[in-house]
Amino acid sequence: MSTGIRKPARKIDLRRYPGFVHLAVFCMIILYAPLLIVAVYSFNASTSITLWGGFSLQWYEEVFFGLESAKFKDAAWNSFTIAISAAVVSTCFATSAALGMLRAGEFRGRPVSFALINLPLMVPEIVTAVATLIFFNWINFERGIGTILVAHIVFCIPFAYLPIAARLEGISGIYEQAALDLYATRWEAFRLVLLPLMAPGVLSGFLLAFIISLDDFIITNFVKGAGVETLPTAIFGAVKQGIKPNIMAISTLLLVLSFIFVTLSWLIGRMGTDSGRAAD
């Protein structure tokens, strides 16, 4: 190794590249230091957002029982209702889409369909937001919770689709054939065999859609009606009047929730893949 000549490694080890560790540490700091600071300062006893004044839970208390708590509770209620409904509906759409794409055989326009399903991931969100707003105005749809919900359902579909399709792709069609061979109808083959096998993917897609909807700001901000707030728009509104530590507390709560859901989504998506795929 010291001669500078070495046999080709079986697998390229990224860690051997010069400066890899430094770059990695730098990126981690850029990405996570702000989050960490917000989380730490949410427990600050002082009203300053930059000076540490000891540990306290007062900002969390403020979030739940303070002057602005009613506003945040309304926003949280809106956020959760929208996120759950949007996740349920978009997961249904995404599951159907995955079945159509992966189980209906080759059909004309399949590549186009694939692109269309995934396009929203590529289109800048601000474009989608403006377009959605124009669309709602054009059809004279009154803005409010309804418009937010519809918009969320639409942009959550590709997020739900990805883990569902990934899971479905790993399930051999032989199981459905075996079910049909054993006198199951098409619906029974789906309900009793395919759906249980793809359930982790569906759940994973649901959780991802839920958290994407819960976190969304840009589109929501465009299509929400006056006076209707979700948590992200409420936080944004509060920040405009100056950053107070209770914002940090709410942000931390959201962060923890996101973290839990993304982790769950990942774990569930992996669940059973060892046995499920080995049997293929």
Partner: protein
């Protein structure tokens, strides 16, 4: 076969009539089956044997209902079935990869078909027990498929397919994933299962040994066509054409010219002048060229001074455990395989470089007319 009247044969469990299957566009697509007709009798262990790509699995999937026919008809006990979906056909399949439902226990897997047929619960339980006992897996009822060995999973797949008591059981290379010992044991087990249950088995394999040991009758397939249908003895001892002779077991194919035809026996002139009596596979005419097939075990090596049909030099001796295989080079450069039983003939073995004479056991040479 009642091809003229158009009536399905009453005795046949499955009748396949002039079935053609083209994947893709009808004119340019891949032709998997090029007009296959066969009758599979009730209570028969019938094997579709052929190399990969010969259409045997396609034919099985057509009988199961997973593929449609491009043209032709399929009858099950006299009823036309090619329009029925798989779940409406009283046939069950044992898949090559078993396809056990991984989220269900062994018992739930076996019960699946019975539940779909709306059998009462008590009867389902009884028949699941019976089916699992049949394959000696009663004690594993509560396990998941992933907790079983390959051989056990194979038997669960069998029990699952047998539990609804199908009229015909389709087996798609079910033994190919097992190791040799298990495969040999399962051959015996499958054959006795078929006899015990009285169900017609249609077995697909590319393994000729499997086909020869289990089947009542075998259809040898190649390039989407049936080459020969017959018992194991028929196809091994009386191959109809060159493909069958070559594919089933080992054989030596010699170029010959037909010298003389005398009802049931033909005299064939070998390249190096020897004259050989052979039974023809069809109508043979004097003066035509053809191939004679002789199995390696029907040839005998003798010292060069003794009278023999052919002369050659031993090129190689291969020890195969039970047998010794001699590769003998003839004067014209072609090579002939001769098999001797290792236990009996050890002292008679010739070494590489030895000159030898080759004799043919009388009545074992077959002239292939095709």
């Amino acid at each position: 076969m009642n091809a003229e009247t158009g009536n399905p044969s009453a005795a046949a469990a499955v009748e396949v009539r002039e079935v053609e299957k083209v994947f893709g566009p009808p004119t340019t697509g891949a032709r998997a089956l090029a007009g296959v007709s066969l009758n599979i009798l009730d209570n028969e262990f019938f094997t579709l044997l052929g190399p990969s790509g010969c259409g045997k699995t396609t034919l099985l999937r057509i009988i199961a209902g997973f593929e449609t026919v491009t043209s032709g008809r399929v009858f099950l006990f006299g009823d036309e079935i090619e329009d029925l979906p798989p779940n409406k056909r009283p046939v069950n399949t044992v898949f090559q990869q078993y396809a056990l439902f991984p989220h269900m226990s062994v018992a739930e897997n076996v019960a699946f078909g019975l539940h779909r047929l709306r059998h009462p619960k008590a009867e389902v339980a009884k028949r699941v027990d019976e089916a699992l006992d049949l394959v000696q897996l009663g004690e594993f009822a509560a396990r998941r498929p992933s907790q079983l060995s390959g051989g056990q999973q194979q038997r669960v797949a069998l029990a699952r397919a047998l539990a609804p008591r199908p009229k015909v059981l389709l087996l798609d290379e079910p033994l190919s994933a097992l190791d040799l010992k298990l495969r040999q044991a399962m051959r015996v087990e499958l054959k006795s299962l078929q006899e015990e249950t009285g169900i017609t088995f249609i077995f697909v394999t590319h393994d000729q040994e499997e086909a020869l040991t289990m089947s009542d009758r075998i259809a040898v397939m190649s390039r989407g066509e049936v080459q020969q249908i017959g018992t194991a003895h028929d196809i091994y001892d009386r191959p109809r054409n060159r493909f069958v002779a070559d594919f089933i077991g080992e054989t030596n194919l010699l170029d010959v010219t037909v010298e003389n035809v005398d009802d049931g026996s033909v005299a064939c002139r070998l390249q190096d002048g020897g004259l050989l009596q052979a039974t023809p596979s069809g109508e043979a005419a004097a003066g035509t060229a053809g191939h004679v097939s002789i199995r390696p075990e029907q040839l005998v090596l003798v010292p060069p001074q003794e009278p023999a049909l052919m002369q050659g030099v031993v090129d190689r001796l291969i020890y195969l455990g039970t047998d010794n295989q001699h590769l003998v080079q003839l004067a014209d450069g072609s090579e002939i395989r001769v098999r001797t039983q290792a236990a009996q003939q050890a002292e008679k073995d010739f070494a590489p470089g030895d000159k030898v004479g080759i004799r043919v056991n009388p009545g074992t040479a077959r002239l292939l007319v095709d």
